[in-house]
């Protein structure tokens, strides 16, 4: 663009005088921004006219200034918007970046938390079932122990009780390992059995206790099949019993003992 021709067109003068159209005004403002020579020329013209105007002053009345200034207040103005804008935009630029960092962190943490929670739950459920199982087992063990304790306690009480006569029946030739204790109450003649070791009775057969009174075997009743770890209550014996013996008989017992089927025997 020919700057000199533009200057000589007189449009700058018209601009300064304020007689240009809005389109021309825009054009001048745009071009003076682009071409420093134009801006220079414009400012020179403006300065010249300004000085010309200063040569034509009409001083306003002296009191006018006070009237005008009484209507003005000079509180410090807010920071101009264009000075605030950069900080805001800086904040505006930063926050998405921060978010970009924060979001995955949060999601990662959330995922991690979920995984941990899932693992925790699984572990808890596993532990629970395991504990339940252990609980059951312990309960069984405890009830077993309680039975054992009750059995042992009863045994201990019976053995210690002086009214009970302890009669040890040892294994004979047929079963030397066997051992059964008869606890004979001297006051009531009640007889209890504590089977310590005795082979399991074959099917169709049952052990039977005998009391020897005056050289004659007296039936004291049959042992129930599940005799292990139990105190068995037998029939009441006669006062003059000299010995006790157990033979293997047919189920339900026999009227007389089969002596060749004797397992244990003990004298009072």
């Amino acid at each position: 663009m020919n700057i000199q021709a533009y200057i000589e067109s007189g449009i700058l003068e018209e601009y300064v005088l304020g007689t240009v159209s809005p389109q021309e005004k825009q054009e001048v403002e745009c071009l003076t921004k682009i071409y420093p020579e134009l801006k220079e020329e414009l400012l020179t013209l403006e300065a010249a006219l300004e000085k010309y105007a200063q040569e034509h002053q009409t001083p306003p009345p002296a009191d006018l200034k006070d009237k005008i200034f009484a209507q003005m207040n000079f509180e410090p103005v807010e920071e101009p918007a264009d000075e605030v804008a950069p900080t805001e935009s800086r904040v505006g630029v930063l926050s998405p970046e921060q978010k970009a960092i924060v979001r995955p962190l949060w999601s990662m943490m959330a995922v991690a938390a979920s995984v941990l929670l899932a693992i925790g739950l699984a572990w808890a459920i596993y532990e629970m079932s395991d504990l339940k199982f252990q609980n059951k087992r312990l309960a069984t063990q405890i009830s077993n122990l309680e039975e054992t304790v009750a059995y042992s306690g009863t045994l201990a009480r019976l053995y210690r009780d002086p009214t009970y006569k302890v009669v040890r029946m040892a294994g004979v030739a047929k079963s030397p390992e066997s051992s059964v204790v008869a606890l004979w109450n001297q006051q009531t003649n009640e007889v209890l059995l504590d089977v310590q070791k005795l082979p399991v009775a074959p099917s169709g057969r049952q052990y039977q206790l005998w009391s020897i009174v005056n050289g004659q075997p007296v039936d004291m009743g049959v042992l129930e099949p599940a005799f292990d770890g139990k105190i068995l209550r037998m029939k009441t014996t006669q006062p003059g019993s000299a010995a006790f013996a157990i033979t293997l008989e047919k189920t339900g017992g026999s009227p007389t003992p089969s002596l060749d089927e004797m397992y244990v025997m003990g004298s009072v």
Partner: protein
């Protein structure tokens, strides 16, 4: 009026004005009110109304200083536009058309101003300004001070528009040379 204790550069003055500093507005008033009031008076030709309009003008300058953009021109040009437009609006509000000075009347105003303003520092310049050929000077005054369009001036003074334009341009070029220090 033109002699000031504080001397602002245009840039500093604008910055201080935008910060709403009283000292800057004091300076602005003391420095420019005469020139602005001159414009208002020339348009209104009514001294009492001119005072009211001058109040409006200065308050308008104070209120809208934030919107002044130094990229678009000098501060005085901006203020002069406010003064001129406010005065023209006031005349129109009264329902009368702005009265155009004739050459004779205008010369009288100019002489009056010269009497008002025995500014020592500008005496030499004043002499230079007076060298402007009257037929050019009045055109500048009509357009610059009173806001007439060049077309209006051409019509009223029965001078071809081209002549008005070229005379004004020549006048401004002369002014530019006069004030180029």
């Amino acid at each position: 009026m033109a002699t000031q204790k504080v001397k602002y550069s245009e840039e500093d003055l604008v910055a201080s004005l935008k910060r709403n500093e009283r000292a800057a507005f004091d300076y602005l008033y003391d420095h420019y009110s005469g020139a602005l009031f001159n414009v208002v008076c020339k348009v209104l030709k009514d001294s009492e109304r001119s005072e009211d309009v001058m109040q409006d003008v200065f308050l308008k300058i104070w209120k809208s200083i934030a919107s002044y953009n130094s990229e678009k021109g000098r501060l005085f040009t901006w203020m002069l536009n406010i003064a001129r437009n406010s005065a023209i609006d006031a005349v129109r509000a009264e329902g009368r058309a702005p009265i155009m000075d004739d050459i004779q009347e205008h010369s009288a105003w100019a002489d009056q101003s010269a009497v008002y303003q025995p500014s020592l520092s500008t005496l030499d310049l004043k002499a230079l300004v007076e060298k402007l050929r009257p037929e050019r000077k009045i055109l500048v005054d009509l357009v610059y001070f009173q806001g007439y369009t060049q077309e209006e001036v051409a019509e009223k003074l029965s001078i071809p528009l081209g002549t008005v334009k070229s005379r004004i341009r020549t006048a401004l070029q002369d002014l530019k040379i006069f004030f180029a220090v």
